[in-house]
């Protein structure tokens, strides 16, 4: 078995793991984390495809690599936004849950708890 195939199988398992975690884990922070894990797996699949596409004196196809670099940056910005949303939810309700109907504190905007 070649190294690319090994990493490809690893990437497939990572996608499965991340998907499972982001569905099952009740904590929003850990859902975000699991989603990033999933993203890592997808990027790795791109890496395997790039490595298999080595041609023209390049060790790997540059186009998937460039897409992964863009992907990592976008994943970071999405993660930062999601974490900020979550922290704001925690500040206003005192809880970090996605359950609907969780009681909120009155007049959240005038209170700066949690900072």
């Amino acid at each position: 078995m070649s190294a690319e195939t090994l990493y490809g199988l690893c990437a497939a398992a990572l996608v499965g793991l991340g998907l499972f975690g982001s569905i099952v884990d009740p904590q929003p922070l850990r859902k975000i984390l699991a989603f990033n894990l999933l993203g890592g797996g997808v990027f790795l699949l791109f890496g395997v495809i790039a490595r298999r596409g080595a041609a023209a004196g390049m060790a790997a196809d540059p186009v998937p690599q460039a897409m992964v670099i863009t992907g990592i940056v976008v994943a970071f910005s999405a993660t930062a936004l999601a974490v900020t949303l979550l922290l704001r939810l925690f500040e206003t309700t005192g809880q970090a849950t996605l359950r609907t109907g969780a009681p909120a504190r009155p007049d959240p905007d005038s209170d700066r708890a949690g900072s």
């Binding site: 199988l9 499965g16 099952v24 890592g40 023209a56 460039a66 990592i72 976008v74 910005s77 922290l87």
Partner: protein, 321 residues
């Protein structure tokens, strides 16, 4: 000295590394506390950087090391520490067995489908490598990944910068109205002495040199604007965390200018392409390399400021006028 052994040693290393990545990922999913899961994720990013080197994608390894593991890790660790009081309660809302079982089956199916794709590749493997190589001499850019990012697929990179700016606007808009334009969060208590203050004084000068080096070398070897910008951002975040410099007011004119200068210059060069070359984001042949370098320099500045502010969170204080 036989080369057969070298191949074997490499393959053993690859197998071990793949197993390790999987083990850390499982650990991050099943960990008992959110903090343990986040630390697991940081090591996951670090191991992925090693995998990228093994896959001959050092550009990606640099990005993963700087953003994937470094800056993302810092954001998640800080969030895990803040959310700890709410953790027990939200962890208790674990879904029932049927849903967990269904999720497991779905995830296993997705993973199996992807594994099939890996095991049954199309032959010959698709590659845009030859197409990317054709115009490299014209661009005078030695690193094909940089050429893809800033010439062939420059519109992706431009739009990605817009996404970064939108994400930052999204983060800012989560603050209460009265804080709009103010500085992010609360200032960290200043420390004039101690290990952290020492680190925050010694590391940034070196980090700035390394960041500029990574940017510069990106034209001919792995590196570039993203990686350099992320390193600069990390150094800035370190100085802010140590309390040596407070975060700037998000409404300040200098900050706003730095945020948009990269995308603006990129867009201006792109539009100029209509006049001096064949169309949007086309570069006149003899000026391709200087133009690309100029775009990368301003992009690096903007990326550094955007990433640093994204990590700092929404405004938490009223603006001082």
């Amino acid at each position: 000295m036989s080369t057969g052994f070298a191949l074997d040693a490499g393959l053993v290393l690859d197998a071990g590394l793949a197993a390790l990545v999987l083990a850390v990922a499982v650990g991050a999913i099943v960990a008992g506390t959110a903090f343990a899961a986040v630390v697991g994720f940081v090591t996951y990013g670090l191991l992925l950087a090693l995998v990228w080197v093994r896959l001959a994608a050092v550009d990606v390894a640099l990005t993963e090391a700087a953003i994937g593991s470094g800056v993302t890790g810092a954001v998640l660790i800080a969030a895990a520490a803040r959310l700890r009081p709410a953790e027990a309660r939200s962890a208790a809302e674990r879904p029932g067995v049927p849903l967990r079982l269904a999720a497991a089956v779905l995830s296993a199916l997705v993973a199996a489908g992807l594994a099939m794709l890996v095991l049954l590749p199309s032959a010959p493997a698709p590659s845009l490598g030859p197409a990317a190589a054709v115009h490299l001499p014209e661009l005078a850019i030695g690193n094909p990944v940089t050429a893809v990012l800033l010439a062939y697929r420059a519109i992706d990179t431009l739009l990605e910068k817009i996404v970064l700016l939108l994400a930052l606007l999204g983060v800012w808009s989560l603050a209460p109205d009265r804080f709009w334009g103010g500085a992010p969060g609360q200032p960290h208590a200043a420390q004039q002495d101690g290990a952290l203050a020492l680190l925050a004084r010694l590391l940034p000068p070196v980090g700035i040199v390394v960041g500029v080096y990574i940017l510069w070398v990106g034209a001919v070897a792995p590196g570039g604007a993203f990686q350099g910008g992320a390193i600069l951002a990390a150094m800035w975040i370190l100085v802010m965390i140590a309390g040596l410099r407070d975060a700037p007011a998000t409404g300040g004119r200098r900050v706003r200018l730095l945020l948009v200068v990269g995308p603006a210059v990129f867009l201006a060069v792109g539009l100029a392409g209509f006049v001096v070359a064949d169309g949007f984001l086309a570069y006149p042949a003899s000026y391709a390399k200087p133009l690309i370098i100029a775009i990368e320099v301003v992009l690096t500045l903007s990326i550094a400021v955007i990433l640093g502010l994204l990590a700092s969170g929404p405004p938490g204080r009223e603006r001082q006028r």
